[in-house]
Amino acid sequence: MKNVLTIAMREFKVYFSSPIAYIVLAMFAAIFGYFFSTGLAYFAQFSAQAAMQGGGMGMPPLNINQFVVAPSLGNMTIVLLFLTPMITMRLFAEEKRSGTIELLLTSPVKDYEIIAGKWLGAMLLFCAMLLVAAANLSILFFYTTPDWRPMLVALLGLVLMGGAMIAAGAFLSTLTKNQIVAGALTFGFLLLLWVLNWATSFSNSTLSEICEFLALSPHFEQFSKGVIELKDVAYYVSAIALGLFLSKRSLESLRWRA
């Protein structure tokens, strides 16, 4: 565990000594800020209208969670499609290129500790990104009394989804010495997972059901509504496990091929 943290902390710090962390955080903040503020403006306008028109009709007040929080976090999932490859592309590719992998692989650490450390380091940056979103959301508490539980659930969903995406990216980064190639592979792969469920709107065969199950985003839907479903958690957790397992395998085979 100590080794995992050592590797993770180095990884996390290194993001901040290159522009990557700042680019990723700034992009996330800007885009989330945009979704959030427009959502908020829309909500304000809409609830004002609702109050004027149907004042006494007994309609329940509009739910800010449903109108602002869920959609703006939901929109962010597509942004992550672009940001995660930037986070993961360097993880192993850079070590292979510069030869520092030789230090890791000849130090008294286990392969899985290296993988877990790398993954965790990337996750820390990912969570820093979510903190930006959380900071935005916390503004709501000054003005209204939104329900904090669905927010937390949605954030948890993002963490799980990010974990799966980062695990995939980490694996793809073990395959090459070239960061750009690793990034492009990751983006392509995530995009594929993303569009898988588009097919489901056209047909109802078992194939499309499978596609729907494999697709990345449908599993986030329930989270964004504040509902934790076991099958969604299981999907993300097993995706993380699979990604890390494949990375480990790839690292081992690197030794044989190197």
Partner: protein, 336 residues
């Protein structure tokens, strides 16, 4: 301390290291000598657990590299051919990271960092980004990294490459100063480095060990002879013939240099030879302007050993197909 037995490493069809075996005792400094592509780096990578051998076993401090990799890695400090440095880290941060990775206890980490910095004289740059260091300093930080956990065994792949002459001397001194407490294997192309730092030389060529002995023994044994250079004023054919006739002389070659003949004489190790040569020359009325002993250097031996595989293509041909042995063997059987 180090035991390598029958190690073979294949990269696909190519064999980088062929059936290599050697031992290194505690406290020894052993030099790995060989031309480019000889298999030095490959052997070291196998020892450090970076690469698994295709065949054979390697053990460090009694632990098998394959079965107890973690125990082996704890005992080895390794400086790869390209120092494994993170350019975006500061020297001290980097060493702290390595120290943690090597499992040094939190309480002594700072002390270890200080002593590694002191030994490799990188104190002046310890707060600099590694990416901004000169090649020589990078090499030193690489060395500091290898030393930091006070390993029993140091494996240094070309530790003096890219250093200026002054630094080379410093690093050699550093290596010698480490000798007592550490067992050291280093690789190099530079022969003087081996004779000046190593107690033993392993000459490796095309993946095979050609020699394994002390530098002194190697020089003596492979010579078994002496070489002399004479500067003579006389007719070339005659000189050649007469010198060859001198008892104890094995070979003579002459070339013209500034109107005189520069002759290289290889002869048996016999103190009398120079006198006999001088007598012969003088008695025939030629001028003898100079005579000096050449003494076969490690350089000569090295060239002899490593050339001897390629030159006598006829005699040594049998050794060549061994490279492709696994593929060639069945084919050979069929044809017979």
């Amino acid at each position: 301390m180090i035991k390598v037995e029958g190690v073979t490493k294949r990269y696909g069809p190519a064999t980088a290291v062929k059936n290599v075996s050697f031992n290194v005792e505690r406290g020894e400094i052993v030099g790995f000598l060989g031309p480019n592509g000889a298999g030095k780096t490959t052997t070291m990578r196998i020892l450090t657990g970076f690469l698994p051998p295709t065949e054979g076993t390697a053990a460090v401090g009694g632990y098998d590299v394959q079965k107890d990799p973690i125990e082996v890695k704890k005992r080895i400090g390794y400086l790869p051919e390209t120092p494994p440095l993170y350019p975006e880290m500061e020297v001290v941060d980097y060493l702290r990271f390595v120290a943690r990775l090597k499992g040094i206890e939190a309480g002594v980490i700072e002390r270890r960092i200080d002593s590694a910095i002191e030994r490799t004289a990188v104190g002046g740059v310890k707060d600099k980004l590694i990416g901004k260091l000169s090649k020589g300093y990078r090499q030193r930080v690489g060395l500091a990294q290898a030393l930091i956990h006070g390993p029993d065994v140091l494996v240094l792949d070309e530790p003096t490459s890219g250093l200026d002459p002054k630094q080379i001397i410093e690093v050699r001194e550093l290596i010698r100063s480490l000798a007592g407490e550490h067992t050291i294997i280093l690789s190099t192309h530079i022969l003087s480095e081996v004779s000046s730092t190593c107690g033993r030389v392993i000459i490796i060529n095309e993946g095979r060990i050609e020699a394994n002995d002390t530098p002194q023994n190697l020089t003596a044994q492979l010579q078994g002879a002496q070489a002399l250079q004479l500067e003579i004023d006389g007719p070339e054919d005659e000189v050649l013939r007469r010198l060859r006739d001198v008892p104890g002389v094995n070979a003579v070659s002459c070339e013209n240099g500034g109107g005189r003949l520069i002759c290289r004489v290889e002869a048996e190790k016999d103190a009398d030879i120079p006198r006999r040569l001088a007598e012969t020359v003088v008695n025939l009325g030629w001028g003898l302007y100079a005579m000096q002993s050449l003494g076969l250097s490690l350089e000569d031996i090295f060239l002899k050993l490593t050339a001897h595989d390629e030159a006598p293509a006829g005699g040594e041909a049998a050794a060549e197909p061994e490279t492709a042995e696994p593929a060639a063997a069945p084919a050979g059987e069929e044809s017979e």
